[in-house]
């Protein structure tokens, strides 16, 4: 029910009261009911929180994040209880830094956190605005601050997610990136109740970036390192992915995925611990399977759900 509708309900009740159709206590009772209904919508929704927590738990690995979510949940509960007892209750500063290689789940976690914090009632909307250097850094003097402000305005009530944040500091002394950082810091302090800023990027680059901006590090109380997935975890991720899409991996297909992943790991350390790589393999396999089935002409249920060894390929050919 929208706001307009809500005030209409009040108006109707008051009209009836004025015309002498209902008694005062009836009118007040109606108003209370209406109000409680609206409050329920805004208040933390325990069911939603639980559902999200389950969703978070189903993510493979990411132990640190799961622990953090539990911490925040407990903290909010306690703060609310304290408020009921009229004790001082602080709002939580939740700006975060995510460090990790590409494909280790940073964006996924940010999106999920947005939803969870929204359900807990910490954030108003819980949306995630993904921002990159080009969205923040302007082309001329004064342009940058306006751009940053606009992005912050858009992210209010949710999460502003800056991927490869160190690119802001790139470009030397005369670059406007520094101005962007300053404007950002101001924004995150001003709106710390209703905005969460997440800086994300590769581990080493992020650490260098934070070292060169000492004020920055202390403003982000939460640092999470996203470690590369182990081969076991990657296989689990692959299984989860196909399950979600209602497919099954045959045993030999699984073995082939494992072989491809371990080979990649030797060739290239940085992108190897990578769920995105797995996703690409699976999606490619699904396409390959479609072609194979179309050519073979057998469409039994078994055929439709099984991904075979031949479907798994390393690169597109």
């Amino acid at each position: 029910m929208g706001y307009k509708n809500e005030s209409k309900v009040y108006e109707d009740i008051l009209n009836l009261l004025e015309r002498g159709k209902v008694s005062t206590e009836y009118a007040v009772g109606k108003m209370i009911k209406q109000k409680q209904m609206n409050d329920n919508k805004r208040n933390p929704n325990q069911e939603d929180v639980n559902a999200m927590m389950v969703e978070l738990d189903t993510l493979i690995g990411l132990e640190r994040v799961k622990k953090l979510a539990r911490e925040i949940q407990a903290y909010i509960l306690i703060q609310n209880k304290r408020r009921e007892e009229h004790l001082a209750a602080d709002s939580l500063v939740l700006h975060m830094i995510f460090k990790g290689n590409p494909g280790t789940g940073k964006t996924t976690v940010a999106r999920l956190l947005g939803k969870i914090l929204c359900a807990m009632g910490v954030l108003e909307k819980g949306h995630v605005v993904e921002v990159e250097r080009a969205d923040l850094v302007g082309g001329y003097i004064g342009h940058t601050a306006a751009k940053v402000r606009e992005q912050i305005k858009e992210s209010l009530g949710g999460i502003m997610f800056i991927d490869e944040a160190y690119s802001l500091a790139r470009g030397g002394e005369k670059d406007f990136g520094k101005e962007a950082i300053d404007a950002m810091v101001k924004g995150m302090e001003d709106y710390k109740d209703n905005l969460i800023l997440i800086l994300a990027g590769y581990k080493e680059e992020m650490e260098n970036f934070l070292k060169t901006n000492p004020g920055l590090k202390s403003r982000f109380p939460i640092h999470i390192e996203f470690t590369d997935y182990t081969l076991d975890e990657l296989i689990k991720i692959a299984e989860d992915m196909v399950k979600k899409r209602q497919y099954i991996l045959s045993l030999s297909a699984k073995a082939k995925i494992l072989r491809i992943l371990s080979q990649k790991r030797i060739e290239d350390r940085i992108t190897s611990g990578n769920a995105r790589l797995v996703r690409n393999i699976i999606e490619r396999a699904i396409r390959k399977q479609a072609i194979r089935l179309k050519d073979s002409g057998s469409f039994s249920r078994e055929d439709l759900i099984t991904l075979k060894r031949d479907d798994i390929t390393e690169e597109d050919h």
């Binding site: 009040y10 009261l17 004025e18 002498g20 209902v22 005062t24 206590e25 009118a27 108003m31």
Partner: protein
């Protein structure tokens, strides 16, 4: 500017409280807006004494529309503005006079827009043998409504008329979850507590 609404049954002392509270804050003249409806607003400038003579009386239904004024409350070194609004009394059931009903509808409409609600209850009318009967349905409903509002407080008025504290104790027992400030709108007792309650929410 935050809005503060005074509600309660007729003749609970709402208007007198508003005027005496303004005096307590340090005003000598008040500018009162008489809000008949959204388009029809009269503004009158009165001294506090005149206003008391004119607006408050010991007969119920003296106030027939919302009467609001702006108070500047000194907070630390600065001042904070608050709009304080007096309303006409609420009664149970359906009143036969359309004028009164209209005023009550206006009062209820104002509840929704207010940040702070001062719910005035006349302690001298409380009968310890029959609390529920002497309070009336609307008072209970309003206290329930108070759970949904952060700045809700009950003012137990007319302590100057009490011989013993029993009615106050009974009232506190009846509304255990709410904060009750005993006051006397006439003698300005308990006003400092009201002031600090209001200031905390500015």
């Amino acid at each position: 500017m935050k809005k503060c609404l005074i509600i309660g049954k007729p003749n609970a002392g709402k208007t007198l409280f508003m005027l005496n509270f303004a005096e307590y804050i340090g005003l000598t003249d008040v500018e009162i807006k008489f809000i008949q409806n959204k388009r029809n607003v009269d503004i009158k400038k009165l001294s506090i004494e005149e206003a008391k003579q004119l607006l408050s009386s010991n007969k119920p239904y003296k106030t027939t529309c919302l009467q609001s004024m702006t108070l500047e409350i000194p907070v630390l070194k600065g001042k904070k503005e608050i709009g304080i609004m007096d309303s006409s009394g609420l009664i149970d059931g359906i009143h036969q006079d359309v004028q009164v009903r209209r005023a009550m509808a206006q009062t209820l409409g104002a509840i929704e827009e207010s940040d702070i609600i001062l719910h005035m209850i006349d302690l001298s009318k409380i009968n310890p043998d029959n609390i529920i009967g002497s309070l009336g349905e609307v008072d209970y409903q309003l206290s329930k409504y108070g759970f949904t509002k952060e700045g809700y407080v009950i003012l137990g008025n007319k302590i100057d008329l009490l011989e013993r504290k029993t009615p106050l104790i009974y009232l506190q027992k009846e509304f255990q979850e709410h904060y009750i400030i005993p006051i006397s709108a006439l003698n300005k007792n308990g006003f400092s507590e009201v002031k600090s309650f209001v200031c905390r929410r500015l």
